[in-house]
Amino acid sequence: MSATAVRTPAPVSDPPGARSKRLKGAGLGVLAWVVGLLFFLPIAWMALTSFHSEADAATNPPSFTAALTLDGYREFFGAGGGASPWPALINSTVASLTSTLLVLVLALPAAYALSIRPVKKWTDVLFFFLSTKMLPAVAGLLPLYLFAKNTGLLDNIWLLVVLYTSMNLPIAVWMMQSFLAEVPVAVIEAAQLDGAKLPTVLARIVAPIAAPGIAATALICFIFSWNELLFARVLTGVVAETAPVFLTSFITSQGLFLAKVCAASLVISLPVLAAGFAAQDKLVQGLSLGAVK
């Protein structure tokens, strides 16, 4: 913070002050780049290591320029005789997509009844939804496990679908409420006066305004379901294992396996990275439960 540049009270700044101000600005820009790259470094290193051979991945000091190979990925996808990750990837896809769809089906009407045509005391209802999100997963873990065990639902992907739906529903209701509330009521009323029926209103007026928000909500729900470990770890076994559970098999070292771990971590994170960047603009609103626009 160079004081000379800032203290000049007049808006017409003298040339040397302006130069030092510009210099400071450029310096802070460079600093932002350095910090950004530092934060990204572990991911970049993970990506680079995933393309190295196991021998090159395990050197000290690190080998930055070693030859690139796809061996890590081949190993991860089961070429070396290890367990194939495909069943887990498919399970995760099914659980995440289905639960996201269910969330939308349940949350859209609820959000409608909390914004466009609100019920009485709609803020109270909204906060009830939020309060269920504050209940940690461990609060119901054991009864859910016992329930699944006694009903034969243990190691069944559909149980996870139901749980992921309940996990994401409060966030989705909050997000969609805030997106639907942006639809101007006057426009809806005008259309209704002109004789437009509810489906027409929804399709022609509400959908176009709320669509980007709904898409972002879906992406965020997808991310949370894809990432979830605790429920999946406790409630699934061999058949319904999800991708994060598959990753836990890498917790204990298995000789030289860094390239394989990096390949696995990267492949399993790719859907989340893609969904996250697609929802980037609405990410804050979703993560802050609609409190921050």
């Binding site: 004081a3 934060f39 406790v234």
Partner: protein, 314 residues
């Protein structure tokens, strides 16, 4: 919003005299409520009922390996959780882990948000680079830190240290809790940055310009205008972060498997019933996590609702 909430009230008053319209109104009220019901019922059944069951189980002495020996124990499980030094340690670990991760990532997030609030070349790219750690699957991030960065023989940290002839510590064995915290701070700093950046960008820029014309320094503007404005965003970040990190299981499970004094309450609950089969004890510990979360959540809800009301009245 008041304009919308009045119609039902008005029709109710009008409907008072006759019985027929009264029924109509009830019907209409239920028609308004109907879209809400599936979501509400679903949530209550899937989240609230299991918690009630946890409450009940927490009052029983019940090891699932000896199902016949199940008996009512009153509050004995709670006494055991609070009396057992391992379990008490996990309460302490949970608090330490949560407070450290939230505070450090909040401060780092604030610095990053301040850097990103200025215009510079490639700002969009830097923002994207900074968000990336938050978008790595938590287990994958924990594996990355455990094997690729912290590994004492060929991890990146010791690799870089060997260039400058530095020491070669065994990070996870020597500083287990800090290792877990570091990986979580790396993932949660972007979250804090995003919330605080949104806060910075919602500042009143005319007011800041006016202060600058009046000769206020950068520090004075930050101290007296920016920081008060950011207060609620800082609170929101801290509280939402706390709610997620109090519940953290992935990092503890992956990095240390709860060893070396890093077992937090969620991990302890998992271990107590999944490995030790002590159902009653696990439930009591679970209820304690809920109580802790509820205390944080009460504050969180207050902050969210104050931001929310401001939004609605705008």
């Amino acid at each position: 919003m008041t304009a919308i909430t009045t119609p039902p009230a008005a029709t109710e008053r009008a409907a008072a005299p006759g019985k027929q319209p009264d029924q109509n109104n009830k019907l209409r009220a239920w028609a308004t409520r109907a879209p809400l019901l599936p979501a509400l019922v679903f949530l209550i059944v899937v989240t609230q009922l299991p918690f009630v069951a946890t409450l009940v189980i927490s009052l029983f002495d019940w090891n699932s390996l000896y199902p016949d020996a199940r008996e009512f124990a009153g509050l004995a499980n709670y006494a055991e959780v609070l009396g057992d030094s391992d379990l008490r340690n996990s309460v302490w670990t949970t608090i330490l882990l949560t407070v450290t991760v939230v505070l450090v990532s909040l401060v780092l997030g604030l610095l990053l948000a301040l850097l990103l609030d200025r215009k510079f070349k490639g700002r969009g790219i830097v923002r994207t680079l900074l968000i990336a750690p938050f978008l790595v699957v938590p287990v994958a991030a924990a594996l990355l830190w455990k094997h690729v960065l912290f590994n004492p023989e060929y991890g990146l940290f010791n690799g870089l240290l060997s260039y400058v002839g530095g020491p070669q510590p065994d990070w996870i064995s020597e500083m287990p809790l800090m290792a877990v915290e570091a990986s979580l701070i790396w993932q949660w700093t972007p979250f804090m940055m995003l919330i605080l950046l949104a806060g910075l960008q919602s500042r009143d820029h005319q007011q800041i310009e006016a202060a600058r014309v009046d000769g206020a320094s950068d520090w004075q503007i930050f101290r007296h205008l920016t920081l008060p404005h950011l207060r609620r965003y800082l609170e929101l970040g801290a509280l939402l972060g706390s709610i997620y990190i109090v519940q953290n299981f992935d990092a503890v499970f992956t990095l240390t498997s709860g060893g070396l004094g890093t077992a937090n309450l969620p991990y302890t609950v998992y271990q107590t019933f999944y490995q030790a089969h002590e159902n009653g004890l696990a439930s009591a510990a679970g209820v304690l996590v809920v109580i802790g979360s509820l205390i944080i959540a009460t504050f969180a809800l207050r902050v969210v609702s104050s931001l929310f009301r401001e939004e609605v009245s705008r």
